[in-house]
Structures are given as C-alpha cells and as structure tokens.
C-alpha cells in the first residue's frame, strides 16, 4: 500500500467525519417525520436486544464475581472487607456495566451492521432501494440506531443487576460475608449522581455503536474485501470512540455531581 501524503490523509479523515455527522443528523431528522418503519425497529430490537442477552448476562455476572473476589483481598489489608459490596456496586453501576455491555454489543452488533449494510452496498441493494423510492437512512439506519439506544439502556441495567448479584454470591459463599449487609452496602453506596452517570452512558454508547457501525457499512467500497474491512473498522472505531466518550462523560458528571 502506498503512503498517502499528509494533506491527503487529513482530507479523507475530515471528509469521513463530515459524512458521519451528516448520517447522524439525517438519522435523527428521520425520527421526527413519517414514514417510521416500526416493523423494522421491532425486529432490530429483537436481534440486538434479545440476541445480546446471554452474552451480556454472562459478562455482567462474572465481572461482578471477579470484582468482589479481587477487591476483597485488597480491602482486607485495610480491614475494610465489609466495603466490598459498596465497591462492587459503584464500579458496576458507573463504569463496568455500561462499558462492558457496550463493548459486547459493539463486537456483536456494530460488526453485524457494518457487514450487513456493507454487503448491501457493494451489491447495489442500497442504490436499488433508493431507486425504488425508499430512503435507506430511514429504512436501515434509523431502526438500528433507535433499537440499539433503547436496548443497550436496558441491557446495561440488567448487567449492573447481575453483576451486583454475582458479587453477592461470591461475598457470601466464598468470602463468608453477611448477605444482608452486602446488599445493604451496595444500595447505600449509590447516590443520585452515580445513577445519572450510569444511565446516561448507555444512551451515548448505543448511539455511537450503531451510527459508527452503520456509517462504515454505508460507506463500504470494493467488494467482499471491502465488507471485511468495514466490519473490523466498525468494531474498532466504535469501541475506541465509546471509550473516549466514556472518559468525557465521567469527567463531566464528576464536575457536576462531585463524584
């Protein structure tokens, strides 16, 4: 592969960001004007939400377990082992629940969207759709974006819950802590700001995962190889952007709520 000149490199990336922004703007605008393809939205919700359920629960549960196990050994040194529940619930709620669920859904669905739309693009099905009078942004992108935002929110809550439960099981049966005080401390640890932070993240993450996945799909070029490239880029870029935005949201909410 020849090296692109620096100005060429900057130009293609600026154009990509511009195209991405236009895609997002058009997807949002499509939400507020008819026709809305409800059938497609529900089938995407099923595919993205229900389909990601097993992996999300598995990841959330074992993260909670390992969190309890690891933090208990450190906390024991300070004689603060009773704080385990507090640590598990704060970490799950504010950080690990949203991020891990986001990464799972990104790996599973951003790749799916990029490859599905990418194959449609290279076989001219997207153009055929436009030629038949249907806006692919409305028909393909909007259902995926709205379904991901909506479902990721609930998947994250579920992941938080099973994570705390997993931590509880480990604390009670392996660390010999008192179950009631574990759950009491998990509950007491959370304040309003933590909940806002934990609930806000999946909304942004869902939007990023789906729009980036769709963007790479819709801008696929060059046959089957191009589809493969779009898929890997979709997962990589959406996960990367998601982690950067995670940092920004954390900093912002710490600025607002002080924690």
């Amino acid at each position: 592969m020849p090296f692109a000149s620096p100005s060429e490199f900057v130009k293609t990336n600026v154009i990509a960001v511009q195209d991405y922004s236009v895609l997002c703007a058009r997807a949002i605008a499509a939400l507020f004007s008819p026709p809305l393809y409800l059938g497609d939205i529900f089938s995407q919700m099923d595919a993205i939400g229900f389909g990601s359920l097993p992996i999300t629960i598995l990841a959330g549960f074992f993260t909670g377990c390992v969190l309890a196990l690891q933090s208990a050994t450190s906390l024991q040194q300070f004689g603060a082992i009773s704080m385990t529940g507090r640590l598990v619930s704060l970490s799950m709620m504010k950080e690990l629940g949203p991020v891990l669920t986001g990464l799972m859904v990104s790996g599973r669905n951003a790749s799916g969207m990029a490859s599905e739309l990418g194959s449609m693009k290279v076989t001219e099905q997207i153009d055929a759709m436009r030629a038949l009078g249907v806006d692919p942004i409305r028909k393909l992108v909007l259902p995926r974006v709205s379904a991901t935002v909506f479902m990721l929110f609930f998947l994250t809550i579920l992941s938080d819950a099973v994570g705390v439960a997993g931590g509880g099981l480990v604390s009670v049966f392996m660390l010999g802590l008192n179950g009631t005080s574990y759950f009491h401390s998990t509950y007491r640890a959370l304040v309003y700001g933590d909940v806002v932070q934990g609930m806000m993240k999946p909304i942004f993450f869902g939007f990023i995962i789906s729009t980036v996945g769709c963007y790479f799909g819709m801008s696929t070029k060059g046959g089957t190889q191009g589809v493969g490239k779009a898929t890997t880029q979709g997962v990589g870029v959406s996960s990367g952007v998601m982690l950067v935005v995670d940092f920004l949201i954390s900093r912002l909410t710490i600025g607002i709520f002080g924690r």
Binding site: Q125, A128, A131, L132
Partner: protein, 271 residues
Amino acid sequence: MADEQQQRQDGPVLELKDVSITFDRDKVLNGVSFVVQPGETRVLLGPAGGGKSVLMKLVNGLIKPDTGSIKVFGQEITTMTEAQLFEMRRRVGMVFQESALFDSMNVEDNVAYRLNEEGTATEEAHKRVQEALDFVELGKAITKFPAELSGGMRRRVSIARAIITKPDLILYDSPTGGLDPITSTTIVQLVVKQRDVSHTTALMITHRLQDAFVLATHRFDTDKNEMQPIPDHGVDENTKFLVLNGGKIVFDGSTLELTHSEDPWLKSYLS
C-alpha cells in the same frame, strides 16, 4: 399546473447538457449532452468502463454530476433534495447491471417492494406481482429467494420489479450481460414488448451489438405474442443509438445513421 403537466408530457423525457463527473481524478464523463424524446428507446453502447452505468445512475439521481444539467420529465434534478428525487423516481423504473435484488426477501416481496411501500392492499399487490411475473414468464418462481434463481431469472425478476408500477421511463443496465443467446433473446423480446405494447420511454445499456440490432429490426406482434422481424429490412423508428467512448458521446442518431457511419473508430467498434 395543467400547462406544466402538458409541457412535461410533450417535452423531452430526458435532457442532459454538458454533464461531467470525476471519480478519484479520472474524468469518467466529460461534457455529455443528449436528449431522449417520449416513446423513444435509446440504446447506449460503448466499451467496458466507458461510464455507461455511471450515466444511468446520474439520470436517476443516485449520484450527482460535478457540472452540467440533467432534466428528467422537464425538471432539473441536479439541484433536487433527496426527498424531491424520491418523487421523481416514482415515475422511473431501473434494472441494475447485477440485478440488485434484495437477497433477504423472496421474489414476491422483491417485486412488490414499491407497492408495499405505497401501502397497496395485499390482494391487489399479489395480483399485480403475478401479472408482472407472468409478463417476464416467471410466474412459478414467486416464492423463491434470489439465491435460488439463475442469473437470467434474476435479471427478469429485476425487470418485473422495475415495470410493476408502469413507470414513464425505464432504465435497463445491461439486461443481457453475461447471458446465453437464448435467454438474451427472451429479455430483448421483453424490452421490445415494453416498447411496442406500453410505449414506455427507455434507456438501455448493452454490450451485445446483436441484441441492439435485434431491438432495432424487430417489432412485437401482439397476436402471436412474440417479436417478429420488421419486413423489408425495415427498422423501428423509435429505437435510437448513443455511443459513449472515453467519457464522451461519439455517436447520437438513428440505426441507419449508425450502420452507415464513416467514423473509423465506430466502424471498428461495430465490426
């Protein structure tokens, strides 16, 4: 409003002026101008990679030219928004080079795509799909999926999908490309039928010169339900030619003008 309607019907269906487009520094089309009148079937010839498919996508507003003007049904489409373009495309049917059927849908849903979009009642849609498939002689394949069809069948499903709403303009991109002579003839016959029975304006790309000449020298006999050669070596007046080479129009005219052209490049291309 009535005047505008009238003018739309009488004026040319397609009018391109000085259209140019560049992809990655390659000038794919360079100052293309031509006019297609109502009822005309315009055959677009030219070597591979000459920009024929690009030209057809420009006409349907799927891509925008860098410069120049494209008028479809008398309306300038280069400045239209996507929403206005959808309005224009309702009157245009398009057959893609690789068929571009939706592979997750069966033949019926593919052909009915536009009807379903317009909210046509299920029975009515089914009836019209059956009609359109019978027209392309594929009535039996209605429940099949694109992957289960042969290339020629896919091409015909794609034609059925394009004609189901009886568009005023049909764009055929290489409908006979890569097919055996018998299937090609079936497809050319469909185009002739569409020309002589429905009198639809059409733009057709082809690589096969013999298909182009069959199109020009045959007419559709509704009694026998097949195409027949026009007697006395006659040619169809509504069939005209356009030859594209290196991004420029090198020929624009009737069948006889094409076969009697003295241009050396054209002569070698046609032989």
